[in-house]
């Protein structure tokens, strides 16, 4: 076993021991609590780019995921403007925003002392749905208790339900009937929810969260971070406000962020249907969703994407591969490129006259052909009247791949940083 060297590693190791896999919290959140990051989150290499944007005011991240940019920019005292379409990721940002994090310790302490009911006599519930009645009722009880505490202890009366949902969501997987997906960050619906000792796990979660938020509060040098839930393709950004941007879009690797957080999205949907005043944008059409039947037919217009689509449609394929391409891969890739065009076109309206942005992206492969995401992004921004170029490229392997045992071209992924200037 290796000894953790950095304070971050030591914190991660401590969390791993306090919140092991057998607490049955979902892996994504255990990872976020331990390291502040999980699948496809901000990496150390990208921090360097934050420093290039000092003195340019608020940094924009229109596809902000778990709020990695917010964390990093806060450390060096820069404010950020974060938009995220997927509600669970947006709520994680809300929870870890320094402004909220600072108010939490008293409320969390109070929450640790509340006694909530258990489902009488039942050790387990099994279901083919995420939240059978026993689990849902328990979560509703918890949500209302958290809301009360946040209103009274943290002074978060306004939007208390939203903050309560943000605090409950990382734990909701513990009271959910779900099963980790096959070799992927996705999750399967249905499973056994172990009701026995859930309170112990809730306490452990609160303890770890308290430490995490304390770390966030002490490391942050700035506190003006705005978090919005919305679709970058249609969101009304403040016009010409931002002089800098650092962002990373979802990659076309068939990982669907809505699916990664499907239980949490399902809980939010149920809560909203039951008259709770929490409303979020519908995440089902998140960029990169792999449920192509939801997508409206669209076509990319930039040269690199068109060339790529032409190339893969002329490949020699088996009958099965031709069918798969027709019903899934082609609509998926077409929609992906079209969605990027639409999103960046909307984002560009928020760019000030001396705008400088960096976009981090990874090119995967499809049937042995490199998917030119970076090149398409360069083309999109050029088409929008910006100067754009690939600033940095680095070969990496097994990064973001669906199959970690993939070899050769399938395992090849190149990470690019695209620079955009006005």
């Amino acid at each position: 076993m290796t000894t953790p060297h950095t304070p971050e590693d030591r914190f991660g190791a401590a969390v791993a021991s306090r919140l092991p896999r057998t607490t049955l919290l979902r892996e994504s959140y255990r990872s976020l609590l331990a390291t502040g990051r999980t699948y496809a989150a901000f990496t150390k290499q990208e921090r360097a780019y934050v420093e290039r944007l000092v003195d340019r005011g608020v940094i924009l991240d229109p596809m902000s995921g778990y709020g990695g940019l917010m964390m990093e920019s806060a450390k060096i005292g820069i404010d950020s403007y974060n938009l995220e379409m997927n509600p669970p990721q947006h709520l994680w940002q809300v929870l870890t925003n320094r402004r909220i994090a600072e108010r939490m310790p008293g409320a969390i302490g109070k929450l640790m002392s509340i006694r909530k009911r258990n489902v009488a006599g039942k050790r387990t519930v099994c279901s083919d749905t995420f939240f059978p009645d026993e689990c849902y009722d328990l979560l509703c009880d918890l949500l209302s208790a958290i809301e009360d505490v946040l209103s009274s202890e943290a002074g978060l009366k306004r939007e208390a339900k939203k903050f309560a949902a943000a605090l409950l969501l990382p734990f909701s997987g513990r009271l959910c009937c779900c099963t980790p997906g096959d070799n992927s960050a996705h999750v399967k619906e249905g499973g056994i929810c172990v009701l026995k000792d859930w309170r112990t796990d809730f306490h452990a979660y609160l303890e770890v969260l308290l430490q995490f938020l304390h770390r966030v509060s002490t490391e942050s040098q700035s506190s003006r971070h705005e978090n919005y839930n919305g679709d970058a393709r249609i969101f009304e950004f403040p016009k010409k406000r931002f002089r800098s941007m650092l962002t990373s879009p979802p990659y076309p690797n068939h990982r669907d962020f809505e699916a990664i957080f499907r239980p949490e999205n399902e809980l939010l949907r149920k809560l909203s249907q039951d008259g709770n005043t929490i409303s979020f944008v519908d995440p089902s059409a998140v960029i990169g969703t792999n449920i192509v039947s939801r997508l409206s037919p669209s076509t990319p217009t930039v040269p690199s994407a068109i060339k790529f689509m032409d190339k893969i449609s002329t490949l020699k394929r088996t009958k099965q591969a031709t069918y798969d391409d027709a019903v899934y891969y082609f609509p998926y890739l077409r929609e992906y490129f079209a969605a990027l065009e639409s999103a960046y076109s909307n984002v560009s309206k928020a760019a000030a006259s001396d705008f400088l942005g960096y976009i981090v992206v990874v090119n995967n492969t499809h049937r042995g052909v490199v998917v030119p995401v970076a090149e398409a992004i360069v083309d999109i921004w050029k088409k929008l009247g910006f100067s754009s170029r690939i600033e940095h490229a680095e070969e990496s392997f097994h990064l973001g791949t669906k199959n970690p045992r993939a070899k050769g071209i399938r395992a090849r992924h190149t990470e690019y940083v695209v620079e955009v200037r006005r």
């Binding site: 092991p20 896999r21 057998t22 049955l24 006599g121 039942k122 050790r123 387990t124 099994c126 279901s127 083919d128 099963t179 980790p180 096959d182 070799n183 399967k188 249905g190 499973g191 056994i192 172990v194 026995k196 000792d197």
Partner: protein
């Protein structure tokens, strides 16, 4: 000559095999251990109430008097060889069976897709009378097994389950294998009073996957249907844990549930289950097409299953299970793995009292001694049953191999 199984003062069943070692079965955990010969006499004395001075700490901790430590402190890891796997130069060479499976009835509320016993079930076998049950119990005890598994069918469907338990009680360890579909508090109390361990089958935490492998029998009367197999199994688990009856969960790993097993293990661990046994699905002559669907892979043009692929889903999953056990579960849950390629490593007694083993030629069940099907000779047992496979199966020798 047959070595006798004795019930020691500690409650542990023990059998010394000269020049091999001591075999012990603890009804508290329903786990079987082999103690190396160098420590066997002193361990037996200790189990009878003597001093523990010459018994290694590992042996004391694993075997205990029942459990010498509280259940939550016990860590069962790896092969069930004491004091360590290294103290055994070779596989224990058995001269008589460690365990015998008694298929006490052919009736069952479920029709599991992988059922290996279909050829000894339902109308294919005659249901016994009370007097037959006592006679069969006596015949089984002649071979002095460390424990007898009352199975079927579902033994809860036998009107003579209690008779069988009373006939065996105190003379050998008893385990009841059940789907728990009809398990009641009354059953569980009787099991506790007689020191009977219960093994309940659960294949997946997802009801639709579990219930598609463990299907409710189509001819089960509508009045007897009480929901899906998983829901009933979980209720049975609750009953056993509440009554502090020794409980093992059994899981058959197939292509359909393989990826969910690690998560199932986490959940069993948190439910308070102390023992989990995972099998590779065994081929059944009567249900070969379903076996192929469950194990995955393809047959060649002649219909023969490709041996190259058949372990595909298992090696990866079993490796993950062992890793998870070492990292997360060993503090309070034992893990037994049976990936045995040796079909004839089991001794099966049908409801009508005949002794069978599974053919290693794919011919289904074969009589161990056709000349004396109800009392096979020891020599035919040794010839027909793969005793090294038998040891491997019951002493968890495939863990981490």
């Amino acid at each position: 000559m047959i070595n006798e199984t004795v019930l020691t003062n500690s409650g542990v069943y023990a059998r010394i095999e000269p020049r091999v070692g001591l075999f012990c079965f603890s009804p508290t955990t329903c786990l079987l251990f082999a103690v190396a010969e160098s420590e066997s006499r002193s361990t037996l004395q200790w189990l009878q109430g003597g001093h523990a001075t010459q018994v290694s700490e590992v042996t004391q901790a694993r075997l205990g008097k029942g459990w010498s430590k509280s259940k939550t402190q016990v860590q069962i890891e790896g092969r069930q060889l004491l004091p360590s796997a290294e103290s055994w130069g070779n596989l224990p060479i058995l001269r008589q069976p460690l365990a015998i499976n008694w298929l006490i009835t052919g009736r069952c509320p479920l029709a599991c897709r992988y059922c290996y016993a279909e050829d000894l079930m339902r109308s294919r076998v005659q249901e016994p009378e009370r007097v037959d049950v006592q006679r069969i119990a006596d015949a089984i005890l002649r071979y002095s097994p460390l424990y007898v598994v009352l199975t079927g069918g579902d033994p809860l469907f036998s009107p003579f389950l209690q008779t069988a338990i009373e006939s065996l009680s105190g003379r050998t360890g008893i385990i009841v294998d059940t789907s728990a579909y009809t398990l009641t508090k009354r059953h569980v109390e009787s099991f506790r009073d007689h020191g009977v361990g219960v093994r309940i089958s659960v294949d997946s935490a997802r009801p639709k996957v579990n219930d598609s492998q463990r299907i409710v029998y189509s001819e089960l009367p509508l009045g007897a249907r009480r929901g899906g197999a998983l829901e009933r199994a979980l209720r049975g688990i609750d009953l056993c844990l509440d009554a502090d009856v020794s409980l093992t969960i059994q899981t058959v790993a197939t292509k359909k549930n393989a990826n969910d097993l690690v998560d199932l293990g986490d959940r069993l661990f948190r439910m308070g289950v102390k023992s989990w046994r995972v099998f590779k699905v065994a081929p059944s002559q009567l249900r070969m097409s379903e076996y192929l669907l469950l194990v995955g892979g393809k047959t060649d043009k002649g219909g023969t299953y490709s041996s190259r692929k058949k372990d595909g889903p298992y090696k990866f999953v079993f490796k993950n299970l062992v890793e998870s056990h070492r990292l997360h579960w060993k503090s309070s849950m034992a893990l037994q793995l049976t990936m045995s390629e040796s079909p004839n490593s089991v001794v099966l007694v049908s409801a009508d009292g005949r002794f069978f083993t599974e053919s290693n030629m794919g011919q289904g069940k074969v009589l161990i001694d056709p000349r004396s099907p109800r009392r096979p000779s020891m020599s035919s047992l040794a010839t027909m049953v793969d005793m090294s496979g038998h040891a491997s199966r019951y002493l968890n020798l495939e863990y981490g191999s």
